[in-house]
Amino acid sequence: MSVETEHTVVLPNANVVAPSATGAHRIGQMSQFTGLYSRELLRTFRNPWVLVITVVQPFMWLAFFGSSFANVPISELERLLHITISSYTQFLLPGVLSTSMLSVGMFGAMSTIQDKRFGYMKRILLTPTSKSTVFVAKALGSATRGLVQIPVMIVAALAFGVTLGGTPLMWAGFVLALIFLALGFSSLFLAVTASSTDWQTPGVISNFIMMPLMFASGALFPTANFPSWMATIANWNPVTYTALLGRGVVVSGSFDWLYLGYVAIFAGLLVLAGTLVGRKYMKVE
């Protein structure tokens, strides 16, 4: 049936689905997930400033921090870092890639808070979309955003004259470890901010976890030089294992599967725990 109205043309016919009182079935979440995930990516990559910050920040790490030992003789550095390297930037690259995954969760948390404050979370949750789906889509969205940094950093490292070891398969394994790390920390951020609607919360949490997890890890310096309390933190810190895995690939062309397994378990546990927390405590507005 079509009806002419004064507003314009044709009104589509509504095929009303008869309700079924016995229809207690699980409603698939794939469509909602792909919608939410695509929305996260489009919002990120359409915003030029987000891209500029994502790209420039790790580049500056390599440029400024990587150059801080430029005048130290390489033999001296090798003695200090307990590894044979061509430059400190080569040592640093896997570490900076790992630490940059620490903060990506902040963006997912901020995007979630924005959705709560502008009411869009209500729009989502008034459709058959579960809170768990929202949580996983946000976590994956912010993890994906972090991955943009990887090719940029590699190009930057090459520009700084760093020689890169490893095979493409080893690099794929290292990238997978970075994805796990980003996913784990994104879940952590989202879980901690699940009940918050305050813009400032993700920044506060970021400051709170960034500093200890960045320095109490093998990302910037070897853990062998740490005092015992800091080495203990570093031994539990997944950033350490991603950095060690990457350093094996970049510096000596070796790959340690145990490190990848450790980071995979970290990601799995945090995604699971985060989803449960999100489902229970995620506020709608």
Partner: protein, 327 residues
Amino acid sequence: MTEDAIVADAITKAYGSMTAVDHVTFRVPSGGIFGLLGPNGAGKTTIIKVLTGLSALTGGDARVAGFDVRTYPMEVKQRIGWVAAEVILDDDFSGWENLWLQAKFQRVSDWKGRAQQLLDYFALSEFKNNKVSTYSTGMRKKLEIALALLHEPQIIFMDEPTIGLDPGTRRMLWELITGVNREYGITIFLTSHYIEEADALCSQVAILDQGKIAAMGAPNDLKARVQADYIELETGEPTDEARLRAIPGVHEVRAQGRTWILKVDRSEEFLPRLFDHLKPDLIRKINVEKPSLESVFMQLTGKRIDQAGSEVQDYRKFYANVRRARG
């Protein structure tokens, strides 16, 4: 017999010690426009939240589109559309992309044809690729209704659909709402604190005050219950209740802020008597309310609907206290 679209049975929602909705019971027949009329803070939005599964019920039971909202919230959400009071869209996306996202959330795979028809119907096709941040308020509201219709719901919940709109846009939306109800056969559940909106749109109205239903029925039936006119009176000099009560024909006198509300039989006969008793130059403002949903609300609650939600300062008392304090 068609099943009722919504059945609310003693639904209650409490936030801590504050009961926002208190044992509210009603039925919404399929295919009609049901209006929940009440002042700000009466509990209208809370009722929408509990009926749509967005917020858990504290007590009572509700069935929406044939499903229990406690047990089958997802099934309910598949069958309802929602239009927010504050117009909620993703401003970073175009109108078409907002429809695409809604289709993804509602799991509608074959959505493009229907989306285009809706855009044509709402005269938005020309702007479909523009970011919604560039849309006028009326366009945004129309797009929001298109989003609510995309998955062919059985019921649309509209929370204060015309709040903050200019009169022209409001009338345009009224036409759209009645058009959607008539042509799509969709039940519409709307909340409003605009008397004329409920009167113009709704086949059934429930009047809500402080979380409870004060009256319910067809607007004309409700109006027929009021066997009186109400006169709102604001005087330039202080006057007292006894003086107003003394005027023949006054059944009831209530003070609301600086205004007196008088219940009388017929205002045409009463007004000359009022002018005899009060000097006309004493009267600063006078308003006659013939039987309407507003007078129904006044009769039930003793307040005007647009003032009931906010604390009305009694300036006369305030200034009297100031004068006393000065000695």
